[in-house]
Assembly symmetry: C2
Homo-oligomer: 194 residues x 2
């Protein structure tokens, strides 16, 4: 059995990543799996350790990070989040294709450790269209909308770090094309390992 792929999906907030991924995540031909992330944030009611997240203390997190046990990590509002390499590797060894939905900085970290990762960035048809989507989604303070747009512009200037860029103009089309890219890489991977 061939070792599974590592697939990275990134894209600005509001581009519709979640909707696109939902359309192909359960496609049996793609054999995809999410890996369990590690976090220092408090467990919420209904969450299960080792299922939703691997809940750890800040010390444990930093030790794992400093020991090179994390494929990528980031800090959000005082909590740490990371992708343990061993969780990803276990799934890949079982032949699963692991999908990571991460930020641009995370992608750069992963690509250093796994240069064969299939990285895909989803872009909006234009910044104007992204703005319409962000504003249409919910009423957010103007300051937050502007922060999201600034971040999107910054991210979109780093597209050359990805292997593929796909425009989400039509959700069905974007999801199909990402599926085709992943499927083609699965075959490529299998051929190489034979």
């Amino acid at each position: 059995m061939a070792k599974g792929l590592l697939v990275i999906i990134s894209g600005p907030s509001g581009v519709g990543k979640g909707t696109v991924i939902q359309r192909f995540i359960h496609d049996p031909a793609l054999n995809l799996a999410y890996s369990v992330s590690m976090t220092t944030r408090k467990m919420r009611e209904g969450e299960v350790d080792g299922v939703n997240y691997e809940f750890v203390s800040k010390d444990e997190f930093l030790r794992a990070r400093d020991n090179g046990e994390l494929l990528e990590w980031a800090e959000f509002v005082g909590n740490y989040y990371g992708t343990p390499l061993k969780n990803v590797e276990k799934l890949r060894e079982e032949g699963k294709n692991v999908i990571l939905e991460i930020e641009v900085e995370g992608c750069q970290q992963v690509q250093k450790k796994c240069p064969d990762a299939v990285s895909i960035f989803i872009i909006p048809p234009s910044i104007e269209e992204l703005e319409r989507r962000i504003r249409g989604r919910k009423t957010e303070p103007e300051e937050i909308v502007q922060q999201r747009l600034d971040k999107a512009r910054k991210e979109m200037s780093m597209l050359q770090n990805y292997k593929y860029v796909v425009c989400n103009d039509d959700v069905e089309l974007a999801a199909d094309i990402i599926s085709l890219i992943i499927e083609r890489h699965i075959h490529y991977n299998q051929d190489k390992q034979q």
Copy 2:
């Protein structure tokens, strides 16, 4: 019969655009055709007017351009080159999918006139790899190599103007994935026009 697609392929000099395109240009499933470009440069021995190029005078070219008859145009070392809209439209009306291999500026001109064009930018795995390919190809003066690399960096900061970006790490893989993108768009186009 559905009207054909307009497919734009761009990418920095040295990225291997020609090699990639050669792998799928004759694929019958894609039904691709090149349109004949217009130029003011002198006809070379063996070239046929209306086959290799539509050879015109500078006055004729500028008149066509100013009348909005060109989908895109550019000037290279004193000669003008352009894509007559009517040549492209004729092929598309016949159901052919027209492929244009053009520069970033040309792509922006085309997208204004044909927002439904399927634009694909081919990137190298890295600027360092592009440099290796440019240097490996032939012995060019250092100045020219640096000019090519500067141009590539500038082009690669404009990737967000394309619908798709595909990395040419492995020629076969890149060509297959571009074929898959074009094929998916052919079906999308046919469905929409039904």
